[in-house]
């Protein structure tokens, strides 16, 4: 088993832009994070904030044109994936890094048997015979909890339920023992009970294999149960990063706070659900300065031109917000941190 503190993947200042007719959409703009072996990093944010594009950038699968990785480093096992040739990249994909997708209904090829798809993935990266690959496929299906795998291996995707297909996808993703698994909203398209099963399965598999997981989700409940570390994304940037317990106990960025406040709670039954005012800015026309500025109830006197700095408030907890910048807050003669404001996010 791998040492748990080893950094498997380090993304530094990644920028992925889409060059569209409407202008340059900065889908991923200066994103940095690390994932350690055996750990799960959750990338949280609402639709269109750039979490999926960050994930696709790691595998260099950004739809191109119009998308392109314009800057940054993606260091995997000490080498920069962005400097890899397409051929080298192909060997990484599905072997060292694999990915599972949101829609189990559509991410398996409808015209091939499930087992054939899994064994094809195995044979692509491992020099094994057809029979051996099939045997491994059955073993993998058993491992992801598909009953009667010897029969199911010959099913077509349409003969399986959504949960089973997602299990099959996971089996395929695990076929070559990846060091990093990217799970792009693996449970979103499934109903709640299956969701829990799939996430539990991923946890078990991670415990057994020591792989790192990049979990992309918009569901804070999923984050709480599955992640070791959380990165909150907003408008193409990571606005806050912290270990999961720290983040839930002490959310610092106003956006994170807004997300937590907009969660429905049983203790507040009958009250109106809180929400963050306004909408996500258009990726082609982000506002200057802090991108959350327009929607932030705490944004008083913040600079409208300069990007907020990334401040490490406590060990391992960083936040991209002016309110935590000591020099700036001193200059406006306010205390560092979120001011008390009861009526924020109503």
């Amino acid at each position: 088993m791998t040492a748990t503190n080893e950094i498997v993947l380090a993304v530094r200042n990644l920028q992925t832009h889409f060059f569209t007719d409407a202008g340059v959409a900065r889908a991923v703009d200066d994103v940095s994070f690390e994932i350690r072996a055996g750990q799960t990093l959750a990338l949280v944010g609402e639709s269109g904030c750039g979490k999926s594009m960050s994930a696709l950038s790691i595998l260099r699968l950004v739809p191109s044109p119009p998308g392109r990785i314009v800057a940054g480093e993606i260091e995997f096992k000490g080498r920069d994936l962005l400097k890899f040739s397409e051929e080298e990249m192909r060997q990484i994909r599905g072997d060292d890094i694999s990915m599972i997708f949101q829609e189990p209904m559509t991410s398996l090829n409808p015209v091939f048997r499930v087992g054939a798809q899994i064994s094809a993935a195995i044979r692509l990266h491992r020099n094994v015979s057809e029979e051996e690959a099939r045997r491994q496929a059955i073993e993998l299906l058993a491992k992801v909890g598909i009953p009667a795998p010897e029969e199911r291996v010959d099913d077509y995707p349409h003969q399986m339920s959504g949960g089973m297909r997602q299990r099959a996808m996971i089996a395929m993703a695990l076929s070559c023992d990846p060091m990093l698994l990217i799970a792009d909203e693996p449970s979103t398209a499934l109903d709640v009970t299956i969701q829990a099963q799939i996430l539990a399965l991923l946890r078990d598999l991670q415990r057994d294999t020591g792989m790192a997981i990049l979990l992309i989700t918009h569901d804070l409940g999923v984050v709480a149960e599955n992640a070791d570390e959380v990165a909150v994304m907003y408008a193409g940037q990571i606005v806050e990063r912290a270990p999961v317990k720290e983040l839930f106990a002490n959310p610092q960025h106003p956006y994170t706070l807004g997300l937590f406040k907009s969660l429905p709670r049983l203790s507040k039954k009958g009250e109106k659900l809180a929400s963050i005012p306004g909408t996500v800015p258009n990726a082609t026309h982000f506002p200057t300065g802090c991108r959350f500025r327009m929607r932030c109830p705490y944004a008083e006197q913040v600079p409208s031109e300069q990007d907020p700095p990334l401040v490490e408030t406590t060990s391992g907890h960083t936040v991209k917000c002016w309110l935590y910048d000591k020099d700036f807050m001193d200059s406006t003669q306010r205390p560092v941190g979120l001011p008390d404001k009861e009526d924020a996010f109503k």
């Binding site: 699968l61 015209v111 692509l124 078990d204």
Partner: protein
């Protein structure tokens, strides 16, 4: 580094839905739907008969017997196998003596054998569909013509589909400038009046059935290309393509192994219509004298020969014309039926 995975006992699905859904493949569904369309089924039967006629032409019409016992020697299938002793043997006039035996095809006339004493005869007991201006048996020529028409139709349409699939797949999968070039190419092809283009190309080539196949193939691919391109544009966005790329598959393999099978159903429909079109075009070319070189019998060539006698020799025009008509109609009926059967909105 190979880390060993341990089976997790936990988290296994309940076993109640272990039984798979009944294995009803896609083609099974298509066939069930196709069968409902009676006209299409009739078309399919006609095509089956025509294929049979084409394949078994030597057993249906010809000089050479199916079985021959001459003296003490027995020859099996001299109509398809050539024997050293029988080279230049005059089968038509040979009569079986005592202890000898000859089994001739039901129409014992070779398509090229002329009998000037019996030219331009209407249908008789000997010549069921009459004879032409050189006394050749029309039915025999039509039977052998089936081979030419069918092979030209299938090979030309197959070639067209093949070119169309490759160009359309590349255009749709890569989009961008590849798509631009492919689309311009298609537009250029569409600008030409196809038949004139074919005539012009044929004029430069030595007359042969293969050249006709090739020319029909390289002029007829645009429809398939546009269709495949459209399917690929749709499919390239689908998750399973991203998933396939995330597995590390090569583009060539994704295109031809993963996306193409999903894009093939509409291609089958076009192919069916394509065969009908190619048969019709070949007949037209032969009618104009640009087709299969004589004396090889093709339906169009039969029509062409009959022009001068059209006023009285109705059998020379009617039967080959009917053959073309029936074949093309059958293909179109099957194509229609296939299109409807593959359309999920039509499924009941």
């Amino acid at each position: 580094m190979q880390r060993h995975l341990e089976t997790s006992s936990l988290n296994t699905l309940p076993t109640e839905n272990v039984k798979s859904a009944p294995r009803q493949g896609y083609w099974h569904l298509v066939w069930r739907q196709f069968r409902r369309n009676k006209l299409a089924v009739v078309g399919l039967c006609v095509l089956a008969v025509l294929m049979g006629v084409a394949v078994f032409a030597p057993f249906l019409a010809g000089d050479k017997p199916i079985y021959l016992k001459m003296g003490n020697t027995t020859y099996l299938f001299p109509n398809v196998i050539s024997y050293r002793d029988l080279v230049n043997f005059d089968f038509p006039s040979w009569e079986a003596g005592a202890g000898e035996r000859i089994v001739r095809p039901p129409i014992p006339f070779a398509p090229e054998r002329s009998d000037l004493l019996r030219k331009l005869e209407g249908p008789t007991a000997d010549h069921w569909l009459g004879t032409d201006d050189r006394g050749r048996d029309v039915l025999s020529r039509m039977i052998w013509g089936t081979r030419i028409s069918m092979s030209v139709g299938f090979v030309a349409a197959g070639l067209a589909i093949l070119i169309g699939i490759i160009i359309g797949a590349l255009a749709g999968y890569y989009s961008g400038w590849v798509d631009m070039v492919a689309l311009r190419l298609i537009e250029i092809m569409l600008c030409f009046p196809t038949f004139i283009l074919i005539l012009a190309l044929i004029a430069f080539l030595p007359p042969s059935i293969y050249n006709i196949m090739i020319v029909l193939g390289i002029t007829g691919w645009t429809g398939a290309a546009r269709l495949v391109r459209g399917e690929f544009l749709k499919l390239r966005e689908s998750d399973f393509v991203t998933a396939a790329r995330a597995t590390g598959l090569r583009n060539s393999r994704i295109i031809f192994r993963h996306v193409l099978p999903n894009a093939l159903s509409p291609v089958f429909v076009t192919a069916t219509f394509g065969v009908a079109g190619a048969i019709l075009t070949e007949s037209a070319l032969s009618f104009l004298g640009f087709g299969v070189p004589p004396p090889a019998p093709s339906w169009g060539e039969l029509l062409s020969q009959s022009q001068r006698y059209v006023d009285f020799a109705w059998w020379l025009v009617t039967f080959p014309g009917a053959a073309i008509f029936i074949t093309v109609t059958a293909f179109n009926l099957v194509g229609d039926g296939l299109r409807d059967a593959m359309d999920p909105r039509m499924r009941q």
